[in-house]
């Protein structure tokens, strides 16, 4: 047991750190030049793969232009090196800058495209590399290649081969550290949410555009670094090194090592570089192997070796080293919140000439549960989407408190409107606690740099994230499951998780979109209790539901929507017997509503 408790305290980053130090120290442990060259090539590929992993594995965008950005960084370095600027730090800075520019410039149109179009555009860049190099043949040597790159120097002194090796490996290790800090921070969770469902991302306050652009830009940097290293390695550059075979091998290494993994980039790079492909008799099979890897890997999707190992390791950990359970939360589970009134005034919305909403007005007061019911096609979903900013308003206004809302979902989320979705879409690899913490993204802002550098401001934000997550998980009764994988939980639990995620941000307005659908009676009861608690503590709750019993039991005010208009409003006792509501739901024509008390044959006789 002693061994286990000690083992529990070992941080997960210790092993990779030790490995990195050993690798950097290779020359002083007797490694000769051929081994050093292999390691540098691995570093180069690992950097390229890490960039792809960020945009593909985390942000979910298939941006395949790494090979082109790599060429850019390499030729920038080569140009500098052949014109007397041999300081390697200068070269690195220029390579990174060039990579960032290209990354941003190609990223901006790419964001509007997405999917296949983005993949094709970025892949096309690889096709353009030889042409662009030829156009600038004076600077790049064109098809003949760039020769005469002088040896790199640092602080005025020429770097020895050992020195260069240490520089290359250290820079690689530092970059991987930066990435690791980034993806283990809440930004990593944000990327994952973005990948899973951009609509969900904007509902927790993530600006989809800015996030995707960040992923591209950050993913371009390691390609630039790799280019700088590569140019100085052989001191010669040829366009042939930057073709499709390279682009495919980067993707293959990513898939092999696990696209959503930082260490996976290293694993993939190691296997592809050191594998049997290096022996010349196998060289001709390299494309076949890459193709098979992609085919099989693609079939297994983004779960590569590292991913499978991660899961196995996680299972082992949970059996032998169960993570320490947080102590039960002592404190106010639902501190008093200042909810704000949500008011919708004379809202109008039409789609292509068809009126979805005509002159809809309603008010949701703080401390109350306001329910919105109505048949399908009545406009409930449209109304909800308008409140959240997914559509433009055609007429009327929506106000949260005194402020009118704008047509930007993430801004509305950041102003304190939280929303659940009918189909909870939760990223696959995160735990319950991480999923809930994602809700803080909207209102508790923290930048990339503090996260990467683990500055005190970041640590404080993180500590309060964790604390708040404990509170809300205790509130919804999921405290025991905080370390479980969120996506594997049953539906009822995931619904509660959604509510917890919304509540953690102490929203001014909480919108619940059919939270009871698919739940059994016990789960509905639990949900009802939770809704009442939230409104009792001062929050504004808007509930869209079909489950009439639930609505009758928790709502303070009910609005009935039908064919784009509010046909009735009032407390449950009034709505329950309201003739127009009966008409709408029973489909009986209005004048005959009174006839409901008569029998069908009596009605017929009077026609």
């Amino acid at each position: 047991m002693d061994v286990l408790s000690v083992a529990r305290r070992i941080p997960t980053w210790l092993l990779p750190l030790i490995a990195a130090v050993i690798v950097i120290a290779f020359p002083y442990l007797g490694a000769q030049s051929p081994v050093q060259r292999q390691v540098i090539l691995i570093c180069s590929l690992a950097l390229l793969v890490s960039g792809l992993n960020l945009s593909l594995g985390y942000a979910g965008e298939l941006a395949l232009g790494q090979a082109a950005i790599y060429a850019c960084g390499a030729y920038m370095t080569g140009y500098l090196g052949s014109h007397g600027y041999t300081d390697i730090v200068l070269q690195l800075a220029c390579a990174i800058a060039a990579a960032l520019v290209i990354g941003l410039v190609t990223g901006i149109p790419g964001l509007r495209l997405g999917g296949w179009a983005l993949a094709m555009v970025s892949f096309f860049l690889v096709l353009l590399v030889p042409d662009i190099l030829q156009l600038f043949a004076n600077q790049t040597g064109g098809a003949q290649g760039l020769t005469g790159i002088a040896s790199p120097s640092l602080l005025g002194k020429t770097l020895t081969p050992n020195g260069f090796y240490v520089f290359a490996t250290t820079v690689t290790a530092l970059w991987l550290l930066v990435l690791r800090n980034l993806v283990t921070s809440r930004h990593g969770t944000a990327f994952r949410v973005l990948r899973e469902n951009p609509v969900l991302a904007s509902s927790v306050g993530i600006s989809v555009f800015r996030m995707k652009l960040s992923a591209y830009a950050i993913g371009a940097v390691p390609a630039g670094i790799a280019g700088c290293i590569f140019a100085n390695l052989d001191q010669y550059l040829s366009p042939d090194s930057f073709g499709f075979a390279l682009a495919v091998s980067i993707l293959a290494a990513s898939v092999l090592g696990g696209s959503a993994s930082i260490y996976g980039a290293v694993v993939g790079a190691v296997i592809l570089t050191l594998g049997p492909l290096e022996s010349t008799s196998f060289q001709q099979y390299s494309l076949v192997v890459y193709g098979l890897l992609l085919l099989v890997g693609g079939i297994v999707l983004s779960i590569g070796i590292a991913g499978v190992l991660q899961r196995v390791w996680a299972r082992v950990q949970r059996r032998w080293l169960p993570p320490a359970r947080s102590a039960p939360y002592e404190g106010d589970l639902l501190p008093r919140t200042e909810g704000t009134a949500l008011s919708v005034d004379h809202l109008v919305k039409s789609f292509g000439g068809v009126n979805a909403l005509q002159d809809v007005s309603l008010v949701a007061q703080p401390g109350q549960v306001t329910a919105l019911i109505g048949p399908n096609g009545s406009g409930k979903t449209t109304l909800l989407n308008l409140i959240c900013g997914y559509y433009r308003i055609d007429g009327g206004t929506i106000s949260v408190g005194k402020e009118q809302t704008t047509h930007r979902p993430y801004r509305i989320a950041r102003s304190g409107v939280a929303r659940t979705f009918q189909t909870p879409s939760i990223p696959r690899e995160i735990t319950v606690a991480e999923a809930v913490r994602a809700g803080r993204y909207a209102t508790q802002r923290a930048g990339f740099v503090p996260a990467v550098l683990r500055l005190p401001s970041y640590r404080r934000a993180r500590a309060s994230d964790v604390e708040e997550a404990r509170r809300v998980l205790a509130l919804v009764g999921l405290a025991d499951q905080e370390n479980e994988i969120a996506a594997s939980m049953p539906l009822g639990t995931r619904r509660l998780l959604e509510v917890a995620r919304c509540v953690i941000a102490r929203p001014k307005v909480l919108l619940l979109d059919e939270p009871a659908s698919g739940l059994d009676e016990n789960e509905v009861e639990r949900l009802a209790g939770l809704i009442r608690k939230i409104s009792d503590s001062g929050g504004t709750v808007v509930l869209v539901e079909h489950n009439f019993r639930l609505v009758l039991s928790v709502a303070d005010q009910i609005y009935v929507l039908a064919r784009g208009q509010i046909i009735a409003e009032g407390p449950p006792s009034v709505i329950e017997v309201h003739p127009e509501v009966l008409t709408e739901y029973l489909g009986v024509r209005v004048p005959e509503a009174d006839d409901l008390l008569r029998t069908p044959s009596e009605v017929a006789d009077n026609d």
Partner: protein, 285 residues
């Protein structure tokens, strides 16, 4: 006029690649990046049949159609059927293309192979420009295939079923249409057509394994210009790309051809994403 003919000839090849994309896109809602590589495989089979085995041209056609069709079915089973979703399919079809690329290089080596043309190789002068008979046939085939596809899809029940599947897969299932079988069938047809094009495209481009990715990308641009989901669009888009390539090469220089195509691609995707004849998709949240 020479440049126009050469542009149209190139364009015919791109159009044929785009048509292959179109058939699969319409029936399975998938984008088969490996289609161009299937065409390349066809050219190698033709080389093998004509030069190595010295078979009569009729048998070569059959051989190419059969082998490439079979490989296409294999691709459908592995790369498309099991994998759902754009991202996964991109990786698997790209993988299959790379696999074919590597396999053909292993079997036939990496150098371009000359594929003999079964017809005349004498250059003709038409409308003031030089053009090979092979090129004229290719252009004609592209036009005929497009017209044929449009006719079949409008007039035969099977063709209408295909269009129905691409419009609303579920509703098509509810009419008793075996959507899965249709998808496989269309994929196989795209492979057979790719094989049959081998004797025509091979003499023009040579049997070059690495040309597949170049054709694949330009075929995509053809679809982007013409509009996804439109066969006439694929045809016109293909010719457009070919003309842009040859005219840019003529007036600006060889290195500018691909750059111009790229610029047009970006322009179309940003300004008119549905292309010339494509269908606008509704925004859904």
């Amino acid at each position: 006029m020479d440049a126009v003919w050469s542009g149209l000839a190139l364009g015919a090849v791109y159009a044929l690649v785009a048509l292959g994309y179109h058939i699969v896109f319409v029936s399975s809602n998938a984008f088969n990046f490996a289609h161009a590589q299937l065409i390349m495989l066809g050219t190698f089979i033709v080389y093998w049949g004509s030069v190595t085995l010295k078979l009569p041209i009729g048998l070569v056609f059959l051989l190419a159609a059969a082998i490439v069709g079979g490989v296409a079915v294999l691709e459908e089973r592995t790369a498309i059927r099991i994998v759902r979703g754009t991202e996964g399919q991109l990786v698997t079809t790209l993988g299959f293309a790379t696999l074919l690329n590597g396999a053909t290089q292993v079997i036939w080596g990496g150098s371009p192979l000359q594929v003999p043309f079964f017809g005349s190789s004498n250059v003709l002068v038409v409308l003031g420009g030089h053009v090979f008979p092979d090129d004229l046939i290719l252009m004609g085939v592209a036009v005929v295939l497009t017209i044929g596809f449009v006719l079949v899809s409008r007039m035969t029940v099977l063709g209408i079923a295909l269009l129905a599947v691409s419009e609303d897969r579920e509703a098509a299932l509810m009419r008793g249409i075996n959507v899965r079988a249709l998808g496989i069938g269309a994929f196989a047809v795209s492979g057979i057509v790719a094989g049959l094009l081998g004797p025509l495209i091979g003499p023009k481009t040579f049997a070059v394994a690495t040309l597949g990715s170049d054709l694949a990308l330009k075929g995509f641009v053809a679809m982007a210009i013409g509009g996804f989901g439109s066969a006439p669009g694929a045809l016109i888009g293909g010719f457009a790309v070919g003309l842009i390539e040859s005219e840019a090469g003529r007036y600006l220089g060889a290195s500018y051809s691909n750059l111009m195509i790229f610029a047009v691609l970006l322009g179309v995707l940003l300004l008119r994403p549905t292309g010339l004849f494509g269908h606008a998709r509704e925004r859904m949240v």
